[in-house]
Amino acid sequence: MKSTRGGFGDALLEIGKLDEKVVVLSADLTESVRAGAFKASFPDRFFSFGVSEQDMISAAAGFALEGKIPFACTFGVFASGRPWDQIRISVAYMNLNVNIVGTHAGITVGPDGATHQALEEITLMRVLPNMTVIVPCDYYEAYKATKAAVNYPGPVYLRLTRNNVPFITNEDDEYKIGEAAVLKEGDDLTIIACGQMTSICLEAADILKQESISVRVINLHTVKPLDRNKILEAALETKAILTVEEHQVFGGMGSSIAEFVCENNPVPMKLMGIRDRFGRSGESDVLLEAFGLTSEHVVKEAKMLLEKKS
């Protein structure tokens, strides 16, 4: 088990060596966002902005305008909501290659509670034209996503988590921004997840298999742009879609899938996630249970959704 922020930090050091254009901007959380190794190796290309996220994001735009490849890093709550207008105008409107890294996403941040549990970034970022939104499921995927973001055109938002999560991809698996990964084939129902919910959904699929329910599991690491082909295939072939995210369901990953499915091939859907409430303090596993985001809850919802299938 390793964290997705760890995958980011290791990749950041690597791309720092490979490309002199890479610069890192930090808002007083350098070790927490795992940018410390980059800072130690490339002090000239590391810029501390203090607790000034708005300034940091617009300055990142300034770097990008000069051909640099900035990674602006802080906690998800401060990387998305706090400087949203700066992201909208300084970054997205100019379609700049600015990479925004929001760690400590989701309720699994734990004891810090609601103020620090980012549950809205997918919604806030995907509504912006030109923006790409990536939510890696494990360490390796975070590592590859970070490397892929370097030369990916336009702005990228990388949503990462604090806690260690199981490895569910392999080091040598191919990774491409925008191409979802089918982790399990199945015909009765599709579960689409992102981030650390992906491993929980794989567990749920195993439980359902024991009950002879065949589940397709898709790792939607890129929430925007959507992999429309894989989602359309899932809708056509399994005729029911369950989405699971550690994020508000309103406007989140599930919403984006529902928008696409309802326009193209409506099938029964259920959106699992945080439903219109703030987080609470507590240990990660306690919170996942309290907010209904465990494999047992996914199994229950999958069965209820199957009943709705015509």
Binding site: S58, A59, A60, A61, G62, F63, L65, Y93, M94
Partner: protein
């Protein structure tokens, strides 16, 4: 530069640019008149005197950068850019119209426009990113950022003020078009900025003040700012909102209103029919 003949030419240019601005705005039927007119001498001093730039090669890497953070003043910027030859002058009449490059607020992509601005408070931070990049690349140039006084109500400006001083950005020069009016009324009444110069000094900048409509005063301030070492430099340019047209001067009604035809004619008479 800065000799008597140049100053006379600059003054003539200022009248012409004001007429261009008013014509554009009248044709557009909307836009920000007062804060465009207050910028005219500042922009002429920059584009015709201080800036290293080449309209034929707008991406020249060693050029000085200029960010108009108070993006609503873009009619003045467009007029001077067209005058320099960045794009054809007849394009000015397309301001704010569908299909035009000349958006209601500046958009990156127009030749000579360095960054999209319009949501106040962001330009100084963008300029900081450019200045830090310039330092990384050992580039010997300056990054200028023009702000409005009302704009400095934005907290981001003061975040950026601290950052620029922290990094001792002596390749960054700020200019404030201090016309003392914002949408709701006098800056003093909306949210008092005083003591203004002292604020910037306290934030770690070297600061000078000048008459933002007097070319000698502006040139002196720009020359001073250019030589400042180890600190970011700020020029507080005292200006008059609506400058040059008597019935527009010092009247915040003209913040976001364009002149109609007969107002344009009256204004032209005051500016000289040359």
């Amino acid at each position: 530069m800065g000799n008597k003949t140049d100053i006379e030419l600059f003054k003539q240019k200022a009248s012409q640019i004001r007429k261009d601005i008013l014509t554009m705005l009248q044709e557009a039927g909307s836009g920000h008149t007062g804060g465009s007119l207050s910028l005219v001498e500042i922009l002429i001093s920059l584009y015709c005197y201080k800036l290293k730039h080449d309209p034929k090669n707008p991406d020249w890497s060693k050029r000085d950068r200029l960010i108009l953070s108070k993006g609503h003043g873009c009619p003045a910027l467009y007029a001077i850019l067209a005058d320099c030859g960045y794009f054809p002058k007849n394009e000015l009449s397309t301001l704010r119209k569908y299909g035009s490059r000349l958006q209601g607020h500046p958009e990156k992509g127009i030749s000579g426009v360095e960054a999209s601005t319009g949501s106040l408070g962001q330009g100084l931070s963008i300029a900081i990113g450019m200045a830090l990049s310039g330092r990384l690349d050992n580039r010997d140039n300056k990054v200028y950022c023009i702000m409005g006084d009302g704009e400095t109500n934005e907290g981001q400006i003061w975040e950026a003020a601290m950052t620029a001083a922290h990094y001792k950005l002596d390749n960054l020069i700020g200019i404030i078009d201090h016309n003392k009016l914002q949408i709701d009324g006098p800056v003093k009444e909306v949210k008092n900025l005083e003591p203004y110069k002292e604020k910037w000094v306290a934030f770690g900048w070297k600061v000078t003040e000048c008459d933002g409509h007097d070319f000698n005063s502006l040139i002196k301030a720009l020359d001073w700012a250019y030589e400042v070492k180890d600190y970011p430099a700020m020029i507080i340019a005292h200006t008059v909102k609506g400058k040059g047209v008597s019935f527009m001067e010092n009247d915040n009604k003209w913040h976001g209103v364009a002149p109609v035809k007969d107002e344009l004619e009256k204004a032209f008479k005051e500016l000289g029919e040359k």
